[in-house]
């Protein structure tokens, strides 16, 4: 269970580091660049709450399941559009599955 941060998308805004309930994400200075990049210091310490995904303005953070809990290499991403939360699972074969949750709607269960 952990996250993967896409270094190419990250702009070093620090929002993920700020919000993680375990203070797990650090901003690493980059040689020759005034911007930092986010890194998870110890991937095993991630709780899997996805708070950092929700906070990232560049959608640079993806979420995956460790192989020990049945993960097979798919990655989950999150995007908020108006009152919709869009969750997307990208499979290892490149196919996407998308689920949109209306944040104004309660759970049926």
């Amino acid at each position: 269970m952990s996250i993967h941060i896409d270094r190419n998308l990250c702009i070093g805004c620090g929002r993920c580091s700020e919000v993680c309930p375990g203070n797990l994400i650090k901003q690493q200075p980059q040689p020759g660049d005034r911007h930092t990049k986010a890194e998870i210091k110890c991937p095993q310490d991630c709780w899997g709450c996805t708070s950092c995904l929700k906070e990232c303005p560049r959608h640079a953070i993806k979420f995956f399941l460790g192989a020990d809990v049945g993960g097979r290499g798919s990655i989950l991403s999150y995007q908020k559009k108006g009152s919709s939360s869009i969750w997307r699972v990208k499979g290892t074969d490149g196919t996407f599955q998308e689920i949109t949750v209306n944040t104004k709607e309660a759970n049926k269960y």
């Binding site: 269970m1 952990s2 700020e18 919000v19 993680c20 309930p21 375990g22 203070n23 210091k41 991937p43 095993q44 310490d45 991630c46 709780w47 899997g48 709450c49 996805t50 708070s51 906070e55 979420f63 995956f64 399941l65 460790g66 192989a67 020990d68 809990v69 049945g70 993960g71 097979r72 290499g73 798919s74 989950l76 939360s85 969750w87 699972v89 499979g91 599955q97 689920i99 949750v101 944040t103 104004k104 709607e105 309660a106 759970n107 049926k108 269960y109």
Partner: protein
């Protein structure tokens, strides 16, 4: 650098209860409030990923007493009726406030909340924590200090032997900069949640933190209270959750939501054979596994496609890993029953009755120290709304406490020489960990050792949660050998320092927990406290097992049950 702070109210832990208490204090007073939060109140604590439902609500046609009776039965009598009743009376009132703050609650055509069973209401709980965080920040008298980990309370003692001292602040450090904080407060609310990570978890390898309870709630509040002489109750009623295999996502959404029954690998429904209390449901699953009929499942393969897609959404709102698991495997709950397992044991006052021994005002046995939420004992099945109810009660109690105290009295307390020396000692300890040479052991290796000991000798997953007196005595000895090793650990940075203190807290909580498990000579709750030397329930144990630290030794205190209609009061 040491940063000095002075405030009227110090709230330790800006989670569910902490944020709400800050919000209420703003409504009913002008007192200065300082929230010390080890992460960031925006998403810290149990509510980080969101929650599924409000599990504690008085539905139409019921009275608060209905909820008291339910919680009491589930805990087989070892509860505080007075605490449960004062909480239950406020459940609906705090729900109204939550809705006004912006929580989406499902309503029918007549504008009435849609219930799930007779105690739950349906919500969209994904953003419940940001809502509470905003409510706290909207109080203009609140200062939020994120990333400040508190390790110790500041206690002034009047020197008398039997009187526990008075809480007048706390000490901690910034988990990024490493700066030290020395906080003077007139009154303290402890709201640090419960304790996870004591036992070897379900997924001990890469996904070790894929646990149910927040891995960042490490029992700090229990530990600092114990060291300050506070009395604790009912640690032996551990909480062990029945959860979806691997992802450790909640099962209630499926069990109550689509009415799925528990079945064994032969497809037989077994839950009715063992009883329906929280511990019995777990015990049924453990027993079926032991009898060779495992693994066990929630029978979902008869649900409709629409139900399946609603489950995907419901889980995204609180435990996204479960939906990811279904989608990436390509078989959802409609094709395949959902495998279930018991988690490792936790100490959580919001589910069972373990935590601070408090009175009806939520005052602990330490003067000037109040407790609310998962850290407070005697009042199980609190959940989110119960934590809010306790936060409101404690906020009101804090205001009346402060009204009775003169501001001037505090300056003499804060300037107490012994208090200053105590604070110095704690700050020196922080420095010592940084100054230590790197030794043979890491925090991680000691944590692993602790979890293994607890797992094997104190009723962890590997023994199906059962233990005996002999095993507990071994656990006690072995945990005691780890405590001195802690002193040699090296903190290379503030993260290391945090992890050293988290381990220190957990080791103390383990020690007290073992003493509680040893003390109760019966098995009242299967799995939660399954003592194979005393496999039956006994009338002799219709009492509370409480504890406190005296000269760093755990002292067990047996107390009579507070009877229905009675209200317990501290006698200090």
């Amino acid at each position: 650098m040491v940063i000095k702070i002075a405030t009227d109210v110090l709230i330790i832990g800006g989670g569910t209860a902490g944020c709400f208490a800050a919000h209420i204090l703003g409504k009913i007073s002008d007192y200065k409030v300082f929230i010390a939060e080890k992460a960031n109140i925006q998403r810290s604590g149990c509510l980080a990923a969101g929650v599924n439902a409000l599990n504690a609500y008085i539905t139409e046609g019921h009275e608060p007493q209905f909820y008291v009776d339910y919680a009491k039965k589930d805990a087989d009598g070892i509860v505080r009726d007075d605490l449960l009743l004062s909480m239950s009376k406020r459940l609906n009132h705090v729900t109204d406030i939550l809705e006004k703050l912006g929580l989406v609650i499902l309503k029918d055509q007549n504008g009435k909340y849609v219930t799930r069973g007779n105690r739950n209401i349906k919500i969209n709980g994904e953003n419940i924590k940001p809502i509470l965080a905003k409510a706290a920040r909207d109080n203009p008298n609140v200062t939020v200090q994120n990333h400040l980990n508190i390790t110790d309370l500041k206690i002034v003692s009047d020197g008398s032997e039997h009187q526990t001292g008075q809480a007048v602040g706390a000490v901690g450090f910034d988990v990024n900069s490493g700066d030290y904080f020395d906080i003077d407060a007139r009154v303290v609310l402890i709201a640090t949640g419960g304790a996870s990570g004591l036992y070897r978890p379900n997924n001990p390898g890469f996904s070790r933190h894929k646990m149910w309870y927040s891995p960042f709630n490490t029992g700090a509040g229990f530990a600092m209270g114990l060291r300050a002489g506070a009395e604790m109750t009912t640690f032996e009623m551990r909480f062990i959750a029945l959860r979806c295999k691997d992802t450790i996502a909640p099962t209630g959404t499926i069990a109550q939501g689509v009415g799925a029954k528990q079945v064994n690998s032969l497809g037989e429904i077994y839950e009715h054979l063992y009883g329906l209390t929280t511990s019995q449901r777990l015990y049924g699953t453990v027993s079926e596994n032991k009898a060779g009929r495992g693994p066990c499942y929630l029978k979902t393969d008869t649900i409709s496609e629409e139900q399946e897609s609603d489950l995907y959404k419901a889980y995204l709102n609180m435990a996204p890993s479960q939906t990811l698991k279904w989608l990436e495997k390509g078989t959802g709950p409609k094709q395949e029953n959902v495998e279930i397992e018991g988690t490792e044991p936790y100490i959580v006052g919001g589910h069972t009755a373990s935590g601070y021994w408090i009175d009806d005002h939520r005052a602990t046995t330490v003067k000037g120290l109040y407790a609310a939420g998962d850290v407070a004992g005697g009042c199980p099945q609190k959940y989110v709304t119960g934590a809010l109810a306790e936060a409101e009660i404690s906020a009101e109690s804090i205001v009346s406490f402060l009204k009775q105290q003169k501001q001037s009295e505090f300056s003499s307390l804060w300037n107490d020489e012994n208090l200053k020396a105590g604070t110095e000692k704690i700050l020196k300890e922080y420095e010592k960990f940084s100054a230590n040479e790197e030794g043979l052991f890491s925090v991680e290796s000691l944590e692993e050792a602790m979890q293994k000991i607890m797992d094997q000798y104190a009723g962890g997953i590997c023994t199906g949660y059962s233990f005996n007196s002999y095993g507990l005595s071994l656990a006690k000895q072995k945990i005691a050998t780890l405590e001195p090793l802690l002193g040699s650990l090296k903190a290379k940075d503030a993260d290391d320092l945090l992890h050293i203190y988290e381990l220190k807290e957990r080791l103390l909580v383990c020690r007290v927990l073992i003493a509680h498990l040893e003390a109760r000579h019966e098995t009242r709750w299967h799995c939660f406290a399954e003592n194979t030397d005393y496999p039956q329930k006994s009338k002799d144990w219709e009492c509370y097992v409480n504890s406190k630290l005296e000269n760093n030794e755990v002292k067990i205190i047996i107390r009579d049950l507070v009877k229905p209609g009675e209200v317990y009061e501290h006698t200090y």
